[in-house]
């Protein structure tokens, strides 16, 4: 096919395609977000598409930046554990944990064993809540609406148990430097066991509905493959990293609290596609449920708050604590100048590192795959922007 005079006025790319005898197409910029149902918040993806193929996709973050690191500097140590609870709104307990540990390490506070065990129970129940939420959002994004509501049904019992203890459903604010705010109420263990056992019992249903479903497999297997090398380079952790065979879990590698006393396994998969990420997420729910069951059996009696001075004033120094957040490694770097307030805090949130890998794996995929990949990249926007 020759190039006519009219064709010559077309963009260079189109002319080149015409000269090669191909179907001439033009690229189009598609702005996904900041308000889009698949981005779970104000996350923006600047996608360049050619037909339905993504030529490029640039994640743009920061629409929800609230300045947590600065806010923390203005408040004293008792207040800031409650503040960071709001950072990743799906796993409040797991946000409070590293900060509480950092303060305790700096001040050399002793945490009573009962508090440590209860912290594990609460953190793991929070992990189940978080994972079930991502289970539902992923299935909803792939168009399967029924599993969505099943996940909410299972969440409710665990949610209620958390409510019994903390009084909150999202922002728990229950950890204090030195232990917990108070002991768990009567009936909590039964409610918690009921919740986690239900989750374990109903997991086969989920597997039938999604993992065994032919359409689900077609939509997820070999879609959005994140290689092990890339996962390491971008610092991808958590279920997404473990889906790419990054066999890392702070709970096992550097046990904090009493994680070394339980019998559980780190789940990982090797292909790094959407299916593997989802598989790891779903099976981590079972592992967490196992930990909760064992911890409830073994929880010792005693006080839940250690000897803490009336005014918490950390000595001069610095400490870095990392914990396994449901979405990956959450690190808190705390610097104190001996004041009642932290001098500086640097928070390494898992979602932020995880979404940075998006651009690489989104290139060359289809628009529909983009949604599957975003859904399988379990991120909370508050955790990305904080």
């Amino acid at each position: 096919m020759g190039i006519t005079e009219q064709d010559a006025r077309l963009p260079e790319e189109v002319v080149k395609q015409l000269a090669e005898g191909r179907l001439a197409t033009e690229q189009m910029i598609l702005n996904v977000g900041p308000q889009h149902p698949a981005t779970h918040g104000v996350f923006r993806l600047l996608a360049t598409i050619d037909g339905e193929v993504l030529v490029d996709a640039e994640p743009i973050v920061g629409y929800m930046h609230r300045g947590y690191e600065k806010l923390v500097e203005q408040r004293d140590y008792r207040q800031i554990t409650n503040l960071v609870s709001r950072m990743d709104w799906l796993s409040g307990i797991n946000n409070e944990l590293p900060l509480a540990l950092a303060i305790e390490t700096l001040m050399e506070l002793d945490v009573p064993p009962r508090a440590q065990w209860l912290r594990v129970i609460l953190a793991e129940m929070n992990r189940i809540l978080n994972h079930l939420m991502f289970f539902q959002s992923f299935s909803a994004e792939l168009g399967a609406i029924t599993p969505t509501f099943y996940a909410f049904r299972e969440r409710e019992d665990i949610q209620y148990a958390m409510e019994m203890v903390t009084g909150g459903r999202m922002h728990f604010g229950f950890f204090r430097p030195g232990g917990l705010k108070e002991d768990v109420p009567r009936g909590f263990y039964d409610q918690a066991l009921k919740g986690v056992r239900q989750v374990i019992a109903r997991l086969p249903d989920y597997e039938d509905l999604l993992i065994g479903n032919e359409i689900f497999k077609q939509r997820t297997i070999n879609v959005g493959v994140l290689s092990k090398e890339s996962a390491y380079q971008y610092g991808v952790t958590g279920p997404i990293g473990r889906g790419s065979d990054v066999d890392m879990d702070v709970r096992r590698d550097e046990p904090y609290l009493v994680y070394d006393q339980f019998d559980w396994e780190v789940q990982s998969a090797s292909h790094g596609d959407c299916f593997d990420r989802f598989w790891v997420l779903l099976h981590e729910v079972v592992e967490s449920a196992k930990i909760v069951e064992q911890a409830i059996e073994g929880v010792p009696s005693g006080p839940v708050l250690g000897k803490v001075p009336r005014v918490i004033q950390a000595p001069e120094g610095e400490v870095y604590i990392r914990c396994e957040n449901p979405l990956g490694e959450l690190g808190m770097y705390l610097v104190s100048d001996g004041d009642r307030r932290p001098y500086r805090i640097k928070i390494r949130t898992p979602s932020y590192s995880n979404v940075s890998a998006l651009r690489e794996i989104l290139r060359g995929t289809l628009v529909a795959d983009m949604i599957a990949i975003l859904g399988s990249f379990f991120f909370v926007l508050g955790d990305v922007d904080r």
Binding site: S139, T146, N213, F216, V367, A368
Partner: protein
């Protein structure tokens, strides 16, 4: 019964009035069934308050809400095309009901080419969808509109081929004639072929109506509402919700008519013969609606390229083979 003599014009007006009342009411009822069936499959109750008994008036309340909504036309939209599109989506759906026999003699117009008419009219609506996608000045709407068009081209063929096989078996294109030609047991007669044709027809119909799992044109998690993203108020209702519901019920009725024996009783047994055909027709249509919704709530969504592959590489060859088998059956049985 008094002797009523009506002119042709009056008869036409009565027929129009019947369609214009029955279809929206049917669509409302369909909306309610959609809410309730989805809710019960998902372990919840669904709307329970509006109207008293099990929230029966919920769709009515939704409709009233939509009437009061502001009718927004985007500044960059092509206004004439934008306003016309919902009508072009909705009108053909209404026209489908013309040739569906509710009982042996209860049919608006028993066309000699009824089946052909159904297929032809059933695919006009996509022009409206394409118009909506193009005129909205929205990239998501555009992608949705193009997906709908591509989907229709791929899935029109299996429907046509499955219907052609049915017409071959019945030896007529008249819808009443097809029902009359069907023998018990429905659906599996002639052995094997009937069921296979039904499955092909169902897949094709679901894709043509873009019902989940073939709802890529509207894919709410990707394209918000596809071609109808920019619509609001009554335009949204007529172009999207009403049209989808009425289309689904129409195709359920067509499926019940072509494959399940329409107004005939499910088994040829004397007491059942006395039940009016209208009842059988509605029972079978309701069953089809239930089936379509059941599939809808169970499966995740396919991808557009996978859908095309499924149509061209599997469904169309299968339906061609079925035509061959049906031809053999008609010749030798």
């Amino acid at each position: 019964m008094p002797d009523i003599n009506l002119t042709d014009w009056q008869i036409l007006l009565v027929k129009l009035a019947i369609i214009l009342t029955v279809v929206p009411i049917g669509a409302l009822a369909g909306g309610y069934v959609l809410h309730k069936e989805m809710a019960h499959m998902q372990h919840r109750l669904g709307p329970m308050y509006a109207g008293g008994f099990h929230g029966w008036a919920q769709t009515l309340a939704d409709g009233i809400k939509f009437i009061y909504k502001e009718d927004i036309i985007p500044a960059a939209a092509d206004k004439r095309v934008f306003t016309l599109a919902p009508a072009i989506v909705f009108a053909p759906v209404l026209m489908l009901y013309l040739v569906i026999p509710i009982d042996r003699s209860l049919i608006i117009e028993d066309l000699d080419v009824g089946l052909f008419y159904l297929i032809a009219i059933g695919s006009v609506g996509v022009i409206g969808v394409l118009m909506a996608g193009w005129s909205s000045a929205n990239k998501y709407a555009l992608i949705g509109g193009l997906r709908a068009a591509a989907q229709l081209i791929a899935y029109e063929l299996p429907i046509v081929l499955a219907s052609a096989a049915i017409a071959m078996l019945a030896g007529t294109l008249s819808v009443v004639g097809i029902v009359e030609a069907q023998d018990w047991p429905f659906l599996v007669w002639p052995p094997g072929i009937g069921l296979a044709l039904f499955v092909v027809f169902l897949a094709g119909a679901m894709a043509e109506m873009s019902l989940p799992p073939f709802d890529m044109p509207v894919a709410e998690s990707e394209l918000i509402t596809g071609p109808f993203t920019e619509y609001s108020g009554m335009r949204f209702i007529f172009g999207f919700f009403f049209a989808e519901m009425a289309h689904m019920i129409a195709f359920a009725a067509i499926g019940a008519t072509l494959f399940l024996g329409g107004y005939k009783p499910i088994v040829p047994w004397e007491p059942l013969e006395n039940i009016p055909g209208v009842v059988w027709f509605f029972v079978k249509t309701a069953f089809m609606v239930f089936l379509l919704l059941w599939i809808r709530f169970t499966f995740p969504r396919l991808r557009e390229d996978q859908l095309q592959k499924f149509a061209w590489k599997f469904l169309i060859p299968v339906s061609l083979a079925l035509i061959l088998v049906t031809g053999g059956w008609v010749l030798y049985a």
